[in-house]
Amino acid sequence: MSLSELWFILVAVLFIGFFFLEGFDFGVGMATRLLAKNDTEKRMLINSIGPFWDGNEVWLLTAGGAMFAAFPNWYATLFSGFYIPLVVLLLALIARGVAFEFRGKVGSDSWRKAWDISIFLGSFLPPFLLGVVFATLMKGMPIDGDMQMHAGFFDVVNPYSVVAGLSVVCLCIVHGLMFASLRTEGALRLRARELARKWLIPLAVLLVVLAALTFVSTDAFQTRGVILAIMAVVGAAAFVLAGYFMKQGREGWAFGMTGTVIALAVAAVFVALFPRVMVSSLGSAFDLTVYNAASGNYSLKVMTIVALSLLPFVLAYQIWSYFVFHKRIHEKTHLEY
């Protein structure tokens, strides 16, 4: 395996980590609207992700940084090509990030309402837009011989990409509701679990449509049919198990299963792409690949050493922080946010 292939895997791992982790806090963010009945419940939800959401978001920053360092052409083409969606993504992340910190600082209702909107939109738009971007990456975008992407509105927004975006949103909602039921106590915990079960149905529909559209709109199943079929079967099994565990009230397991579905879905994108990183709709000669988009060998070697020596520590202290805050939040818990 060449270093650029290794870095393709590392970028994939970073995105999987991001969607698994930030996935649930996006979901919890949306649950403040979908689930919470009063202000206390809203605050319980926000506090359930309070210590984690910022660290989770760093997975996205690291994935972006890794793309920049290991695949400058990928980073350059993607970020300049998806200009407007990324502006909206940034605005959403900005609104959401400060909302957690600011919401509890002033006692007035309209103040809290404004930040509630920020939290909801800031948790809905990013997974939606990232879903759109990843779907169109696979479908193919007008990328010319100079690796420049010139996309029109309908290249980015089309039935396939919208279904993908909604699927990611829905996945995050279910995953987030399971996280909420894992981190809270009392009525909220039970309602979160029940609501997660209800959302499984639209999610199932969306995922089936998404798989069908992927079959039609991309070459994924032609090139990687067997692996993707296996992943789909495993994913479907995890999905069914998630529903089963929710019914049984085994929240940890159910959360693990919704996480598995997310991880498989993200991994599938990278499996389908490889060895391409961006598909050109103008001809496969213009595809960006792991080879023509990568940095030089020296740079990749340095990055590999740095990443492999730091990542274990990062994982260790992030896991530790989940351990420190393993206690469930109930109505009388002292809430920071």
Partner: protein, 468 residues
């Protein structure tokens, strides 16, 4: 305006804005860590109160710093994709390492610190905030590694039509970085110190809680003195280094058009005439050879002027105009240095009062000065970056790539305009909210007032009420 101008405008706006918050975060978190250390060592609850009070301000500020920072990382790819392609091999690495090394550390341990007051032992909790201090400093180091490469490209060779890294060690021991890193970090500590000292001044003027703020002031002003001297010395060395590596920037910063005589005089201010390539007047200080001293460390030595340098660069890099916007570079340098001078004076007096334990006897005019002096480090930081970046023009990477070649070729000016307008709107709103919250928290103070207790939504209030 074309895409290039718009992209530059956006870069200037968003980066200057982002850098209002960065130095405050770096400086304030150090202060919070010191306060909590005093609490743990001296077991005095007042220090805990103060650590929480400054911590609250730190967190408000940090939130804005983080969200505006995400945009910074995206912006290279969005607006400057040709730049990213050309230097990503070298420049991307420090950015990725910053995320991996620093951002994870900061974000995780801040989470542990905020939510861990009664879940972690005192010492572990204290260790968390110190790890955040380490994280913010590491973050500065890696991003400045990237910036230093733009000032003085090292550790690379041009291959396959782009800059490729061939010596990582050279990249992180870049001579430019050796000056830029301490200068920027001292500047950040100075900013934190003057934000703290200025808030203390407001409290001293108001008398409420004055006793709680006395010790904060004494510590802040000592940090302020040390770091203001640190900034001046490192800045002086950096200027000397620039004379060797980017003489054009330094000549512009001093408004030197013609190469000077051997004993070069230093002008306090000059009337820069860009079109005529000369100065309409120069107000020289009566110290012969002062500019030679500032440039070389001795009162002798001619300083090469911009015209001669431009001729040289035309030979070296091809036909073109290599003179940066002189007025901007000249005046931003002066604003920075003047702020630095004032900060040193204010720190000296404050430290004198603090060491003689006469802080409460300091005259009111001093507190008024300190209140307004909160603005000074922000002026210095901003003008410092303007000098560094504008003075490097027309280059993005000195001698290697011009700004005009760096911009994204596939992005329309409409797109950039859309993002400038939306970001400016959101940033303005954020700035307003932040100032409002800062004022509110400062008014409330560390003990919390009646007003605070009626707000069940402020969690810290309840805590403080328990304590007191």
């Amino acid at each position: 305006m074309d895409v290039l101008d718009l992209a530059r405008l956006q870069y200037a706006l968003t980066t200057i804005y982002h850098f209002f918050f960065v130095p405050v975060s770096i400086g304030l978190v150090l202060f919070v860590a010191i306060m909590e250390t005093l609490y743990v060592v001296k077991k005095d609850e007042n220090y805990k109160k103060m650590a929480k009070f400054w911590g609250k301000l730190f967190l408000i500020n940090f939130a804005v710093g983080v969200v505006t920072g995400i945009l910074q990382e995206f912006q290279f790819g969005m607006n400057w994709s040709d730049y990213s392609r050309f230097v990503g091999d070298v420049f991307g690495a420090p950015l990725a390492i910053e995320a991996l090394f620093a951002f994870f550390l900061e974000s995780t341990f801040i989470g542990l610190w905020i939510f861990g007051w009664d879940k972690l032992s005192k010492k572990v909790h204290l260790a968390c905030i110190w790890l955040v201090v380490v994280g913010t400093t590491l973050s500065a180091f890696w991003i400045l590694t990237a910036n230093s490469f733009m000032q003085q490209p090292v550790g690379f060779s041009v291959q396959n039509g782009r800059a490729e890294m061939n010596d990582f060690l050279a990249l992180i021991t870049n001579p430019q970085l050796i000056y830029e890193f301490p200068h920027t970090v001292f500047g950040a500590y100075l900013t934190g110190a003057f934000v703290v000292a200025g808030i203390c001044a407001i409290k001293m003027l108001g008398k409420k809680d004055a006793h709680l703020f006395k010790s904060s002031f004494s510590i802040a002003i000592v940090i302020g003195l040390i770091s203001s001297l640190g900034v001046a010395f490192s800045g002086h060395s950096q200027a000397q280094h620039l004379v060797e590596t980017q003489p054009m920037k330094m000549a512009a910063a001093e408004g030197i058009w013609e190469t000077t005589p051997d004993k070069a005089p230093w002008a306090l201010i000059s009337g820069i005439n860009v079109d005529g390539q000369k100065n309409s007047f120069e107000l020289n200080l009566p110290i012969p050879g002062l500019l030679s001293y500032l440039s070389y460390g001795e009162f002798n030595g001619a300083v090469t002027g911009m015209k001669e340098l431009n001729a040289q660069y035309n030979q070296q890099y091809g036909q073109g105009d290599y003179i940066p916007p002189v007025k901007t570079t000249f005046w931003s340098f002066r604003f920075m240095v003047a702020s630095g001078g004032l900060l040193i004076l204010l720190s000296l007096y404050g430290t004198y009062m603090a060491l003689r334990r006469r802080v409460d006897k300091a005259p009111r005019w001093y507190w008024h000065c300190m209140k307004w002096a909160i603005a000074l480090p922000f002026i210095a930081n901003t003008s410092g970056w303007i000098m560094t970046e504008v003075g490097r023009q027309p280059w993005t990477v000195f001698g290697l790539m011009t700004t005009a070649d760096s911009v994204s070729p596939n992005v329309s000016s409409g797109s950039v305009l859309f993002s400038i307008i939306t970001f400016t709107a959101v940033y303005t709103l954020l700035g307003g909210v932040m100032v409002y919250l800062f004022v509110k928290e400062i008014k409330k103070g560390p003990s919390g007032e009646k007003e605070g207790l009626e707000q069940p939504h402020d969690p810290f209030e309840k805590e403080v009420a328990h304590v007191s």
